[in-house]
Symmetry: C2
Subunit: 236 residues, 2 copies
DNA sequence: GACAACTTCTCTACGATGTAGACTTTAGCC
DNA sequence: GGCTAAAGTCTACATCGTAGAGAAGTTGTC
């Protein structure tokens, strides 16, 4: 019954050797399934069939664990630095990030919040990689470094803003989406919130994808014309 | 030594009657001064010279206390629904909200995060008021309700995105601003983060106000031209 | 095989947190 | 005075992160 290499035997997800990967995966799974508050050291230990304290080999503390999770999620984002059509690239990345956020909505608060309490240089490297790569992309497309930074800021700012907005309106329980929404709106005092209440139906039809795309169009073309020097289109 | 009406006697901030206002003010002060984690029931009780349990008269639980704080902060934002120049209004509100965020940086995570876990209709009313008022503003300026919602989304999304961005780069310790920034960047592996490292000086000169204003210009003019029907300018 | 050195995992324990429930104190009114 | 309701307090408990000491498991060398 000794399985010398890796594969565990019968009794469930038991004693395979832990690793940072395994721990972070389990953590992400847990967060996706039950939310951030469910991710306690004890609970995660239990999920892995280990003593909670064993986790401290793979993350210095709970905060580091959270950082690991955000890092892992951001790694799912692919950025191709060589594409010369920066607008198309930024547009695609934007949609990808949106989908990422919809796939891991419970992680979004981390994505958005943790950088606020950590100076730039001390963040997990995986977190900074998108920034670096987008800068590379823009610079390769002909922007000066300083302009690239401006574009990045406007772009990423808008992107995160959109994601927050969309997740706010997205109800977690997909069944109750419309019902809860209206029920919610129903509770608002009619005299103070006439417009909001009237928008119930429109709110229910929110299409985040096209909304994002329209916003990106405005932003990208605006950026392209505002910044004088750099290339408008990589066409002949 | 009996002071019949209100004013406490010598020994420090003692036994004045509590109220929701007083509690929330103290909570906000605490958060501003020492951050969100410092806001525990026990600590706040101590700050008010009261038993922690007394706070539950004024907020159902800790989450409700946090909601109260965000509500209180958002109340500092003034919106004038009657102004017909919607672009100017949105621009002003944007700058106001930015300043609000800089005044209460520790509250921003709440502003951004709490709506994610609460369906729209169940949020504290004070939180929804800006939304309602901006809708009113846009509709009064001639937009259809649905278009007003689109404008609102793009606008607020961009705005929150900008604020998050700016706070990320803003170092809490104003003295060490440049030093910490560079020290931080210094730690990055040179081969993986060449562009980011090179941008150190530029990062240090970040002027959030003009950055915001430029972004708003792009966005507002883009929105004005994209949406066919509504008025461009309230002139002539 | 035996031993040693090291890594990984577990046990126990401590202080801090949110908050339920029963109690005491206070304020306002007759 | 006494009565009632509100405001504030006390005690207690489950749960959290994590320090520190030790046990178990792994690996390398003979």
């Amino acid at each position: 019954m000794t399985s010398p290499n890796g594969t565990t035997n019968s009794s469930g997800p038991r004693k395979a050797r832990l690793s940072r990967e395994v721990v972070l995966s389990a953590a992400l799974e847990l967060v996706d399934a039950e939310g951030l508050e469910a991710l306690t050291m004890r609970r995660l230990g239990q999920e892995l069939g280990r003593d909670p304290m064993s986790l401290y080999r793979y993350a210095a503390n709970r905060a580091a664990l959270l950082d690991g999770v955000t890092e892992r999620v951001l790694n799912e984002l692919a950025i191709f630095v060589d594409d010369r059509d920066w607008q198309a690239q930024l547009r695609r990345i934007g949609h990808d990030l949106r989908l990422l956020a919809l796939r891991h909505p419970n992680v979004v608060p981390l994505l958005v919040t943790r950088p606020l309490s950590t100076p730039l240089g001390l963040r997990p490297l995986g977190t900074l990689r998108p920034l670096e790569q987008i800068l590379a992309l823009l610079i390769a497309a002909g922007f000066s470094p300083a302009d690239a930074l401006h574009v990045y800021r406007a772009y990423y700012g808008f992107l995160y803003g959109h994601i927050l907005n969309e997740l706010q309106e997205y109800i977690v329980d997909p069944d109750e989406n419309e019902a809860v929404l209206r029920l919610g709106l129903h509770r608002l005092p009619a005299k103070e919130f006439p417009h909001l209440r009237a928008l119930g139906p429109v709110l229910a039809e929110y299409d985040g994808d096209v909304e994002l795309d329209q916003g990106l169009s405005i932003l990208l073309s605006g950026l392209a014309t505002q910044l004088s020097g750099p290339p408008q289109q990589p066409l002949g």
